[in-house]
């Protein structure tokens, strides 16, 4: 068995990202969509850290920290929006919320 290369991590991250994209695009429930977004952010972080590790440069890790912080902020705001949505529309199914069309 050969040793690990950068490509292994990148592949993992790619698969994770694609799963996230799929989730975001196909799920009705806004909360699950949010989960998909978190998956995508995680995959991005994997990339950042992997590059950081293989280039011997800390900048990637720093960036990953900021991504995590932003993810937290994003999750908080997004959930607040979902709650608001729920109280206004009584649903969190995104296909029923299409006021943006007008």
């Amino acid at each position: 068995m050969e040793s690990l290369t950068l490509n292994h991590f990148l592949t993992l991250s790619a698969v994770l990202f694609s799963l996230g994209v799929f989730g975001v695009m196909t799920r009705r429930n806004a909360v699950v969509v949010l989960m998909g977004i978190e998956l995508m952010l995680n995959s991005a972080n994997i990339n950042l850290i992997a590059f950081s590790r293989y280039n011997g440069n800390m900048d990637g890790q720093m960036l990953a920290i900021f991504v995590i912080v932003l993810a937290a902020a994003e999750a908080a705001v997004a959930l607040a929006i979902i709650l608001n949505l729920y109280s206004n529309y009584n649903t969190v199914n995104l296909d029923e919320v299409d006021q943006l069309k007008e």
Binding site: L16, S18, N29, I46, I49, A50, F66, I68, A72, A75
Partner: protein
């Protein structure tokens, strides 16, 4: 050994992520997401990002996931409503995701030109990160801090029940 751990973690991450995305029950989704997050934390540790691994567990598992669960609870009354949620646009979504994956893999394996040698691992990154945070990345750090504050205030403002609406 290392390789084996990697594959194990990879299987955990991908399987639980798939479960999150494909599961019909929202509670299952949330819990499989937990495993996914933990797996990613393991990957971080493997990449000698110990600080980040811990942060990942604390923030994602301890914070974000809890938030999500709250979201699930508050928006799906278990007693009244099915927790099941279905999938729509399955085929187009799958196609796009597949094309995307193919594209990414193509880039990674065929056109990627980055070095794949592995320099020596860091012992611990906490001290370096601490130094960098208050030196080179001070401004982004401050900005992010403010952003977080704004997000907290904004989130509570948005989620707040409209008093007038309650009255009416």
């Amino acid at each position: 050994m290392e390789v084996a751990i990697f594959w194990l973690l990879a299987v955990i991450i991908i399987a639980s992520a798939a479960a999150t995305v494909f599961s019909k029950n929202i509670i299952y989704s949330a819990f499989s997401l937990l495993f996914s997050f933990l797996g990613v934390a393991g990957i971080y540790a493997m990449l000698s990002a110990d600080f980040l691994a811990v942060t990942q567990i604390m923030v994602y598992v301890g914070g974000i996931l809890t938030l999500i669960l709250f979201g699930v609870m508050l928006t799906n009354r278990i007693t009244m409503m099915s927790l099941k949620t279905d999938v729509f646009n399955f085929i187009p979504g799958l196609t796009i995701a597949a094309v995307m994956l193919a594209g990414l893999l193509y880039v990674i394996w065929v056109t990627g030109t980055w070095a794949s040698d592995s320099p020596a691992a860091w012992d611990t990154t906490v001290e370096t990160i601490g130094t960098l945070t208050i030196t080179r990345f001070l401004l982004p750090f401050e900005v992010v801090a403010i952003l977080l504050l704004i997000a907290v205030v904004g989130a509570s403002f948005i989620a707040r029940k409209d008093k007038q609406k309650i009255q009416s």
